[in-house]
């Protein structure tokens, strides 16, 4: 079963490959340019074509972003919100957060949460991708379909299903653990503890994220010539050696780009964390996006929530800058 689009030039190592294309584009453009200076009208055409996109981005993305920053410097609670008051309070929200040990606990928790998820997603996803490559036709088809279904499940529906699977009294997971002989799990409340809640959230995120990585690894493998493996095997290389010396170097751009994308996606994960247990019990599963939301809307401290949001955006921005740098560097190397 093919999972990749057969479009020409769009290979499996898509993320890295894709961002490298602007470079490839330059050539046809140069040759396609009419001789002589472009007319005034045609010089403005590209800007005219971009205008709607730029306008939408400024109004719908730039404005909320700017507003978040402005709000973070305000004392905006329920009273100010209802009376439409604007009370600036300088850096108060930031000093409050940055000197609050809870903020740092949550930051550390978010980082660990992200690292665990991404490590599991990348390692298991790659292994399943390798497995897909080794399977026979029918088993591969079956596994692909199940991966596809997990991937295509809408996040809200998947989260709802997981709360049902892990329901305290009638959840099938508790029944199964009980049957396995782990009788204390028969009425176990998964959402009553920090680690057990995180277990459910991580399982959910990993379950939904693995297919993306697995399909891409598998598709990437199909582009590697078989002769390379055979040659490596002739030289006496085992499976690990083949992965390390043949597969990984070829697919390194893909692994790097995907790891960063997963880091960014997991770091911002909101719906799963919030819907499983609303950041509970006792706020022990709050991650930064959930914290910003609960401080903002839950505690009705909108200024404080915005400051947490800005700090989160800054961290994401740093990650993205690093990611872009790697992408650009790769482009230079190609």
């Amino acid at each position: 079963m093919r999972t990749q689009s057969p479009e020409p030039g769009e290979s499996a190592v898509a993320p890295a490959d894709d961002v490298a294309t602007p470079r490839a584009q330059r050539t046809p453009e140069k040759s396609g340019r009419p001789a002589g200076g472009p007319s005034l009208a045609s010089r403005f055409t590209p800007y005219l074509l971009l205008l709607p996109a730029v306008a939408a981005t400024v109004a719908l993305l730039g404005w909320p972003l700017l507003k978040t920053v402005l709000l973070s410097f305000q004392n905006l609670n329920k009273r100010q919100l209802i009376q439409h008051l604007t009370e600036w309070n300088g850096l108060d929200n930031y000093t409050e957060q940055l000197t609050d040990s809870e903020f740092w606990t949550i930051t550390l928790r978010t980082v660990v949460f992200t690292a665990v998820n991404v490590a599991l997603i990348m390692v298991l996803g790659s292994l399943i991708g390798l497995l897909l490559d080794r399977l026979g036709r029918w088993m591969r088809l079956a596994l692909s379909v199940s991966l596809l279904l997990a991937w295509a499940m809408p996040v809200v529906a998947a989260t709802t299903v997981y709360t049902w699977l892990f329901d305290q009294h009638y959840g099938v997971v508790n029944w199964f653990l009980d049957k396995l002989g782990w009788h204390s799990m028969a009425d176990f409340s998964w959402t009553s503890g920090e680690y057990s809640t995180f277990f459910v959230i991580i399982l959910l995120i990993v379950w939904q994220s693995i297919p993306f990585v697995a399909f891409n690894v598998y598709a990437g493998l199909t582009t590697i010539p078989r002769e390379l493996y055979e040659a490596a095997r002739m030289d006496g290389a085992g499976s690990f050696r083949i992965f390390g010396s043949v597969i990984f170097p070829i697919m390194k751009p893909f692994f790097l780009a995907t790891t960063f994308l997963e880091v960014i996606w997991v770091f911002k994960a909101f719906t799963q964390v919030y819907l499983i247990n609303k950041g509970g019990p006792d706020g022990l599963t709050r991650t930064l996006p959930v914290h910003a939301f609960l401080e903002g809307f839950g505690a009705q401290r909108f200024g404080v929530g915005s400051a947490i949001a800005v700090l989160t955006i800054l961290m994401l921005g740093a990650l993205m800058a690093y990611y872009f740098r790697i992408i650009l560097k790769q482009e230079d190397e190609l």
């Binding site: 769009e10 993320p15 396609g32 719908l60 978040t68 929530g305 949001a309």
Partner: protein, 276 residues
């Protein structure tokens, strides 16, 4: 190359376990939605609901305002997808085919916007919408969803346009077409797979979006299907049969689209390096 019997068996054994692991939650959702209440609330789960019932589906679609949720979801989704397709096609054409100052900057902004942290900008979005008296309206939802899918749409269409040989367009122009006509007659028909994969992605995003609609729409008249899913949780407990029936109905369009379009669409999704 010969492998031992064990060497041939273990990949299949692992694959079988993984098959169950990935499929089971989806199966359990569908199975629960057909079970009778006594089989749902039972100490021993029923794995095959042989005496199935449609009662939960009946209850799920007869929730007050159900058709409002459906209509709203469809309106918001269609609006966001179509709007972003139009805006993105223009921009993608400029980026793929023209050379101008600031193009690299624009491309970088598109890449950054693709990863925009919407999850933490809800407070600002809420205040902007409130200050413009647009709470409980579909307009801001459509606009924000349009923005969520726009960068990806530009990105994907740019790739598809760049893949069309420039000579095709040029020969159309030699034959007397204007640049716009050349675009409409040559490039646009070739964009169909691209438009399809971006539409699917946009559909999933808007269909799925929860945090924003949860805050911006407190009235049922402007709520969408993700909120309908939570309407079966009452103080008396959760009506799991109806919840699973609702989840099944909610997921069905996307599951079907994915399975049928996966050849074309999934490649497009991964190409854009964004997931739904």
């Amino acid at each position: 190359m010969r492998r031992s019997l064990i060497g041939r068996t273990w990949p299949n054994a692992i694959a079988a376990v993984l098959f169950v692991f990935f499929l089971f939650p989806v199966y359990w959702m569908v199975a629960t939605s057909f079970k009778r209440d006594k089989d749902i609330v039972s100490r021993d789960p029923v794995f095959l609901p042989l005496d199935g019932t449609w009662a939960h589906f009946d209850r799920a679609v007869h929730v007050p305002h159900f058709w409002t949720y459906v209509t709203n979801s469809l309106v918001v989704t269609a609006g966001a997808v179509l709007g972003s397709l139009v805006i993105a096609t223009l921009a993608a054409f400029a980026v793929a085919r023209m050379r101008f100052r600031g193009r690299r900057g624009f491309v970088l902004v598109v890449m950054a916007a693709q990863m925009a942290p919407w999850e933490v900008m809800i407070i600002a979005a809420y205040l902007i919408v409130r200050d413009n008296d647009l709470l409980n309206s579909l307009v801001p939802l459509t606009a924000f969803y349009l923005m969520m899918v726009l960068p990806f749409t530009i990105w994907t269409l740019r790739g598809f346009i760049a893949a069309v040989p420039k000579e095709l367009e040029e020969s159309a122009m030699v034959d007397g077409c204007t640049r716009t006509q050349a675009f409409a007659k040559v490039i646009f028909p070739l964009l169909a797979p691209g438009l399809m994969s971006t539409s699917l992605f946009g559909f999933i995003t808007a269909w799925n979006e929860f945090p924003l609609v949860n805050i911006l729409s407190k009235k049922e008249s402007a709520q969408t299907l993700p909120l309908w899913l939570s309407s079966f949780q009452t103080n008396a407990g959760t009506d799991w049969g109806a919840t699973m029936a609702a989840s099944t109905l909610f997921a069905l369009p996307i599951l079907i689209l994915f399975v049928f379009l996966q050849r074309k669409a999934v490649g497009g999704l991964t190409d854009g390096a964004v997931k739904g």
